[in-house]
């Protein structure tokens, strides 16, 4: 009925909460990209020669590439010469050595976001490597991690302290020539996180990084590299919020995961970047390359993502199942409201014998949102006994939104079993009426039904993150009721 429809639309029109800009003096290079800018970034960070060479190779390659246009998203042309490629909060001396040295305004920003760094980290047992505009300014729990032998630090620090590890693994999963945005990232990335878990170590803490984009017109190019050595185990949480902003901002991150024999990496993301306003103005372009390599036998990589933000989300966290008996998982909730667009999914590349992959994708579309699942399951001829199960569910919450499913399968081994299931549903007026007849408000009913729809994904998230994800979903989809 028309009335029920309007109610649902009113519920999904809630304002973005995290819209504010912190006034911190930024050390920003002028807009534009050429070799000199790349040399400037590299010199600023005191990088070894191999890294500068790698950046320059990537830049040269990028100049030969075309921006891809195959995704089911539409956006105005990006002016790559209009972006400033480096911005760092100005350092008072040589950079903060403890929280006391961190710019109080920065800490205040985290408070507003509900991320009281010290308290929250201690209470939740989470080590936070907070990335603020490209440079990591605070890291906690270092000692505890260090005593376990776990390296968890800003990427730029890893380049200084563990150059051999960086040189060995950087670009080994996502090569500098991989795709337009990953190649751009390889040339200009400014910082990110680095994790190394030694042989047989079960990382004692959930590792967590909060990303933020702050300075106007600054593209953010994060680079994250996680290496889990033989028999190790690590769970990594990535959560994001961004201040309100009128012009589009490009975010092209790269995440590389390497799991050696018997290792497990669990990578969870809650992404809540500014999605633009009700008319589709502003918002982040989130063009990310995430890939994990199950390099050793019996290794496992699991991606879980809750994507509620960004004007455009374009990402396919993938698994290369190279080791025998290795396991890849992808659990995703993607929400598009107003004029948000998402083209997201995964690639599962089965190379080793008896490799298994599971894909569970939940797309929620509201307003004029467009939500596409795009996934590739590829079984190479040598992948004897490979198994895949794929489930794609779409939930439509308005008459003007869209849901699209693009599953690709390439099966090169006759013993492989590949299953695909897809459903499309809407919140029915009867479901809402049923809940309301039991005394539950329409807003709570919508939340309950949407959370029920996403349950299979939420239960893959670490506990504290699951609560946060449900709150985020509520913020993204609720109206300003009450």
């Amino acid at each position: 009925m028309a009335s029920g429809q309007q109610d649902v639309e009113a519920l999904v029109g809630r304002k973005y909460r995290h819209g504010f800009v912190t006034d911190i003096e930024s050390d920003t290079v002028p807009p534009g990209l050429d070799e000199a800018v790349i040399r400037h970034i590299s010199a600023k960070k005191g990088e070894p020669q191999f890294l500068l060479d790698w950046r320059l190779k990537a830049y040269a390659h990028w100049l030969t590439m075309q921006e891809p246009r195959w995704a089911h998203v539409r956006f105005d042309p990006i002016d790559y010469q209009g972006i400033s490629y480096y911005s760092a909060p100005r350092k008072k001396t040589d950079g903060p050595k403890s929280l006391d040295e961190v710019d109080p305004k920065l800490l205040e920003t985290y408070e507003k976001l509900g991320i009281p760094l010290h308290e929250r980290a201690i209470l939740a047992g989470v080590a936070v490597d907070a990335v603020f505009d490209s440079v990591s300014v605070a890291t906690t729990f270092k000692e505890k991690l260090a005593s376990a032998g776990v390296v968890f630090c800003p990427f730029s620090e890893a380049v200084q302290k563990h150059p051999a590890l960086v040189e060995q693994y950087l670009g080994s999963v996502v090569p500098y020539s991989d795709n337009y945005f990953a190649t751009l990232n390889s040339a200009v990335f400014t910082d990110g996180s680095f994790v190394y878990v030694p042989k047989g170590v079960r990382c004692p803490l959930e590792l967590s990084t909060y990303f933020r984009i702050n300075a106007a017109n600054t593209g953010q190019f994060e680079r994250t590299l996680i290496v889990a050595d033989e028999g190790s185990h690590v769970s990594y949480l990535e959560g994001c919020t961004a201040p309100m902003r009128d012009e589009h901002q490009l975010h092209a991150a790269v995440v590389e995961l390497v799991a050696l024999e018997g290792a497990t990496i669990k990578y969870s993301t809650v992404q809540n970047w500014y999605p633009g306003d009700e008319q589709g103005r502003g918002g982040i372009y989130n063009f990310v390359t995430k890939r994990g390599d199950c390099r050793g036998d019996n290794s496992k990589i699991s991606w879980t993502q809750v994507e509620t933000g960004s004007a455009i989300t374009w990402k396919y966290p993938s698994c290369i199942l190279r080791g025998h008996n290795s396991v890849g998982e992808f659990y995703s909730v993607a929400v598009t409201n107003n004029y948000q667009q998402a083209d997201t999914g995964t690639k599962m590349i089965h190379i080793g014998r008896n490799t298994r992959s599971t894909i569970v994708s939940k797309g929620i579309s509201a307003g004029h949102g467009q939500n596409a699942y795009r996934g590739l399951v590829k079984v190479l001829p040598g992948a004897e006994g490979a198994r895949n199960y794929t489930q794609c569910d779409s939930l439509l919450m308005s008459p003007d939104c869209g849901a699209h499913t693009f599953p690709y399968m390439e099966v090169g081994n006759p013993s492989a079993v590949v299953e695909h299931e897809a459903t499309t549903s809407k919140i029915s007026d009867e479901q809402l009426f049923y809940c309301r007849q039991r005394g539950i408000s329409e807003e709570d009913a919508v939340n309950m039904i949407v959370n029920g729809f996403c349950k299979e994904v939420f239960r893959e998230l670490p506990m504290e993150f699951a609560v946060e994800a449900q709150n985020l979903l509520a913020v993204s989809l609720e109206g300003a009721v009450g």
Partner: protein
């Protein structure tokens, strides 16, 4: 408790109720009977505030308030409960979660403390025994994959937990075999009290063998054409509805 005067309502582009009068006192059980299409379910829907039904005339007073001016959730919080004829499935939402949210919404409205998970579970398990339901019901999705009989038992379970002041049962007996009917009737009977009124909508008098009504009304052509006691239901069982429709047409 409930006073309906001259009620007129439209649904699906047709006039269904055409001047219906009914009064239900505290603690009374009223059976509404009638042939298919006579407007029984429309009446139940109007009382609960179903958005697809348009009230075009008349008034409904519930505990001294204008019922028609209240949202469906406000009616529920004021103690009006509808046992649905076709309970909807809500995949992924735990049965127990919905029920806890519902009970706490009611308790909050009444200014009572919300129950925590342990208190709530103890309460529900007690009621489930009454309805002969096993624990697996709790963690299944709301009505998801339930058989017809399970759905109806689930409705009565919700009613037992929410303890309404006025319960409207819309064809709660339809689709039940005799054993399930007895369980459901037993559940309903256990909820009878001098404080609680019930409107039992049914096509067959079979349910009334187990749930003994104080009053029986026959709905035909959108109006109540005859009222009586249990004997009327038995007469309908014997003679069908045709003679009444002929009489009221004459």
């Amino acid at each position: 408790m409930l006073k309906i005067s001259g009620l007129e309502a439209r649904a699906g582009g047709r006039d269904i109720l055409k001047g219906l009068d009914l009064e239900v006192g505290r603690g009374e059980v009223h059976a509404i009977m009638g042939p298919n299409g006579s407007g029984k379910s429309t009446l139940a829907g109007v009382l609960a505030g179903r958005p697809t039904i348009e009230v075009t005339g008349g008034s409904v007073s519930y505990r001294g308030r204008d019922l028609l001016a209240m949202d469906p959730e406000a009616r529920a919080r004021e103690g009006l409960f509808l046992a649905f004829q076709y309970p909807v499935e809500i995949p992924g939402v735990n049965n127990v979660y919905l029920l806890k949210a519902a009970l706490n919404a009611l308790r909050k409205h009444r200014g009572e403390a919300e129950l925590d998970a342990f208190e709530f579970l103890a309460l529900v398990k007690d009621k489930m025994k009454l309805m002969k339901m096993d624990d697996s019901f709790l963690n299944r999705g709301v009505n998801e994959g339930f058989s017809g009989g399970e759905k109806k038992r689930n409705e009565v379970l919700q009613m037992a937990v929410l303890e309404p002041a006025l319960a409207v049962l819309d064809e709660t007996d339809s689709g039940l075999d005799i054993d399930a009917l007895k369980v459901v009737a037993n559940g309903v009977n256990s909820l009878r009290s001098p404080e609680r009124s019930m409107v039992v909508v049914t096509h067959y008098q079979r349910l009334l063998d187990y749930v003994m009504p104080d009053f029986v009304h026959v709905l035909s052509g959108g109006r109540i054409v005859r009222s009586g006691d249990k004997a009327l239901a038995l007469e309908l069982e014997r003679r069908g509805y045709d003679w009444l429709e002929e009489e009221s047409a004459a």
